[in-house]
Amino acid sequence: MSRTTYAAVGAIGLLALAACDDGPDDFDVSRQIGPDPVLPEPRQPLLASIKLAEVVGWQEGQTPVVPESLTVSAYATDLANPRTVHTLPNGDVLVVQSRGPSGKPLPRPKDYIRGWIMSLAKGGGGEQPESNLVTLLRDTDRDGMVDERSDLLTGLHSPFGVAWHDGTLYVAEADEIVAYPYELGATEVGGEPQTITPLPGGPINHHWTKDLALGPDARHLYVSVGSNSNAAERGMEAEKGRAAIWEVDRATGASRVYASGLRNPNGLTFHPETGTLWTVVNERDELGPNLVPDYMTSVQDGGFYGWPWSYYGDHVDVRVHPPRPEMVEQAIAPDYALSSHVAPLGMAFTMGSAMPEAFANGAFVGEHGSWNRTFFNGYKVVYIPFENGMPAGMAEDVVTGFLDGDQARGRPVGVAIDGTGALLIADDAGNTVWRVAAADGSVTPEPIGSDRVAAERAAPPDAVGPAPSGEAATPPPTEIAPAVQE
């Protein structure tokens, strides 16, 4: 009897070891970059493969690495977890600094272990400077160096996206969009905030970053609301209005779900020529090191992109129960995969910037970096060339050097084109905003804001025509889908 017992114990041990194996490490990551990624079979190892980079920060004189045609410098340092950068129409730059809200309920033993592991990758330790603020950076003489710096807003509730139009500054906090009276050129806001609309917030608020973009018609704001879970494991009740991009009327605050099934969308930005909304999305984890590729996609009004029931169209996620084949059938496959677990959080188009020819007609994407694989992916800024309003070609690593062996000096988040036409990168782990400019020193003739309203766009092909068709009487079926559970 006891011999059998020992044999059984041994067999279980071997089984556990086999299950921990991460599989072949020779998977070519680039096969998951582009419009048609290779999607291996999902695997659910007993222990999720995890590799986190300890954050060590930048030493004096250290910078990220850029190709020869570019030059990199620290635009602003000593920030407190800068997440996004936003250029106002006059060329002033807003840096949104924030930390995630705390107090998330932890329903499973796993959540405690996960929280502890994730805290290792956040760096810092000890006394942390006050975060949750918006800082204004002004480059008066347009030489690529910040001449004035002032904290515009402090004590916010985990802000992420900002937008400005017509004397009003909009800030997307973790659970609402607020508006402050603010005139360009001022170094402080001109009054008390007003709530434009509440957004799905706590107490869970798992993917808390609410990104914001102003529509080309300047009438609507578009705000991203990430999911409350990895793959709906907190129940669909927790996902009402989430994993979606909302369209919010600037004047009235009236809002609707513009597109859904987007697990954690960020980097909202309108294509300067086509006027189409684009976003980068963090896809789900724990299906193996090479699933599911994160992506960049144009966003269709009323479009449903699969989460949680499927990914890349009809690839069903069996973890979500009960299954919803009718939702899977509607799921739109995204435009461009960025490869798995790179965690894209920022996106900026380069048309009209002062970037060299090789980077002047496409998009930069900031990749925060992976945790759910045994070797790193992401931790860099890539450039994807565009043609005729769509991605055309392989992504190219442009800004690297955020990793140093198994340690991270910084991690890129939001990206934007500054008032001189150079690329800015918010580095939340390195507490720095980096500026990447053309090495030949070219600058744009005049500043272009991050949000370009239609009048400012150069001959937009679709500027005239009927009003946005989103006001149709029947909401698309996907609008209410996330709230439904039989």
Partner: protein, 146 residues
């Protein structure tokens, strides 16, 4: 009570701390793992995630307290306390190993945290518990009868 009986002819009056401790600790894994099987069944039938959360916590508590019980058993066996045998420990290890694997499975997200492998492991854990109980009983009665 059993401890009043003369056992091996010596150490007859020695208080049996190990057995007292085990009497307190052992019910935890037995009850927790049995309930985890029931909550797994409930999740399987309802897709209601609350049951899956119950299972994960029950498995964790069962493993922690069961681990303490196993430690006490090992010490008792090493020090030749009467009625403690390596074969019992083997089964205890098997139960805890199954429950630990099961807890890893339960750490997955959603349906596959339970169906099918979590449910199967919960059932195997309970089966191993029953086997362990039967074996203890058998060895205990054979000891009294000899």
């Amino acid at each position: 009570m059993a401890h009043a009986r003369p056992v091996d002819g010596y150490r007859r009056e020695r208080p049996r701390y190990a057995d007292m401790l085990l009497a307190t600790l052992t019910p935890f894994p037995v009850v927790c793992f049995t309930l985890a099987l029931l909550t797994d069944l409930a999740y399987w039938r309802t897709s209601y995630l609350m049951w899956q959360h119950f299972s994960a916590w029950l498995l964790l508590v069962g493993i922690v307290v069961g681990g303490c019980a196993l430690l006490v058993s090992i010490i008792a066996t090493l020090t030749h306390r009467p009625g403690h045998r390596w074969s019992h420990i083997g089964l205890g290890v098997l139960v805890l190993a199954l429950a630990f694997l099961n807890n890893l499975v339960h750490a997955r997200d959603g349906w596959t945290a339970v169906v099918p492998s979590g449910l199967v492991l919960s059932a195997l854990t309970v089966a191993a518990l029953i086997a362990s109980g039967l074996m203890r009983r058998a060895s205990a009665s054979s000891r009294w009868s000899s």
